[in-house]
Amino acid sequence: MGELKLMKGNEAIAEAAIRAGADAYFGYPITPQSEVMEYLAAQQPHKRTGMVLLQAESEIAAINMVYGAASTGKKTMTSSSSPGISLKMEGISYLAGAELPALIVNVVRGGPGLGTIQPSQSDYFQATKGGGHGDYRLLVLAPASVQEMSDFVKLGFELAFKYRNPVMILSDGIIGQMMEKVELFDPIPRKTEINEPWALTGKSSDRKKRVVTSLDLDPYGNEKHNHELQRKYKEMEENEVRFEEIDCSDAEYLMVAYGSSARICQKAIKLARLKGIKVGLLRPITLFPFPTKQLYSYTNRIKGILSVELNTGQMIEDIRLAVNGKLPVEHFGRCGGVVHSPEEVLAAFEKIIMK
């Protein structure tokens, strides 16, 4: 068993980055994720593993530093919260276009605009449907505990390199700020040798030139590149779908929720079961790829689905696509930084779904 610690979600992200053998973190502070860089600074990662920690002059500078470091085959990451992630979106689209691995953490707060500093899940569309320009996808992981904040940093880097694609951890102010028990994984040494056949490591006379770019002025070349990206996303949909089911085997109804909202729903379904209502919880762990097939498999055995999100209804669109009109799917969620309680979720479920 690894080392047990009581940590904030944000601190777990930071500690996991050092342990995962990250080469660099570039960031800019913003509530509610400032503890990521604060913890890293206190740890002096350069002394621990040689990892670079740099507070950039802005979010835009930070994401471009990620682009630069990633193009040399290094394990790099950045983190921010909603308004900061919007600023990074141009760079994220470039990373996807240039097929560079990187880890991006969004500890979501209420929007739009500067919004509020309280927790929200209103960046679902931005994370899963592009966000930046162009036909691209991020692989999106949604942690629901401090443990997963740590585990998904390691997993996120693995997936980013496996697919040469940016991976996003979509968290929020609740998971970032709360403390829980976390079992830390054993440190992985930083890679000293870069073997990626695409990485810019300095051309020697006996090696072919390598180019990292998202620009192709030949539209036919760019179309081919787009098809290649789509093939990758298909592969993710086939191999990387992750979800958790709680009390689903005898369920007559489902709640579908991810991240902090899934935790609140876990309590709501417990309260429901005390009243004799058979409701289960399906928690998507990957938001892209989405557990579409799994949701469809419920269409002939349950009566309805409540999508519970800390927003005004975003993931509900993916659930509706998944069940393809065969089940009623409704939404409940507080928004703008207000968090629903388990009792509130249950009351909404009874009113909206059971009628």
Partner: protein, 182 residues
């Protein structure tokens, strides 16, 4: 065992650190724990609160609307959280600065005069440990030795010379707690 606690008071009273020590004590005793603070603008205005859950089982929601126990350290928090404690639950509060005392009759209500005791022994810093001691006296699922271990885990090494005085304050709290009848 599943205990859902709200700790609330002024920022600077040690509300968050008391919760952290409680959570660490739970870990020492192999319990599942969660610690969810209020964060943001409301802190600057003066009040701070934290929800701590200790459980034998995996913890579901870290955000709660009702609590098994409330540890309340100022009037604003008493006004806000008295109604959120489950019937039959525990309300422990410090009387310092309280003008409107609890009015519910379906709770087990206890007082701890931690602020005045901390002033009497001229050590404000152990105020929250006196309160925590009172809570431990009323709830016996945590053993004192694990709480002291929790203190050791929670305090940075440079403060470890203060562990004895904090452990002493826990015992003081256990002695001073008294029931309140309204």
């Amino acid at each position: 065992m599943n205990e859902e606690i709200i700790i609330a008071g002024f920022g600077g009273q040690g509300v968050l650190s008391m919760g952290k020590i409680l959570a660490y004590s739970g870990i020492m005793q192999n319990l599942e724990v969660s610690w969810m603070p209020s964060y943001g603008p409301e802190m600057r205005g003066g009040t701070a609160n934290v929800t701590v859950i200790l459980s034998d089982d995996r913890i579901s929601s870290p955000i709660l609307n009702t609590f098994d126990s409330g540890i309340i350290l100022n009037q604003q928090s008493l006004d806000k959280f008295e109604c959120k404690i489950k019937p039959g639950g525990l309300l422990l509060y410090d009387t310092n600065g309280i003008t409107r005392h609890p009015s519910r009759t379906d709770l087990q209500i206890f007082q701890i005069e931690a602020a005045s005791e901390a002033a009497r022994i001229d050590n404000q810093k152990v105020f929250n440990m006196i309160v925590l001691g009172a809570y431990l006296k009323l709830k016996d699922f945590l053993e004192l030795k694990y709480v002291v271990q929790g203190l050791e885990k929670s305090l940075p090494k440079r403060y470890h010379h203060l562990i004895d005085s904090n452990a002493e304050a826990l015992k003081t709290g256990m002695e001073l707690v008294k029931p309140y009848k309204n």
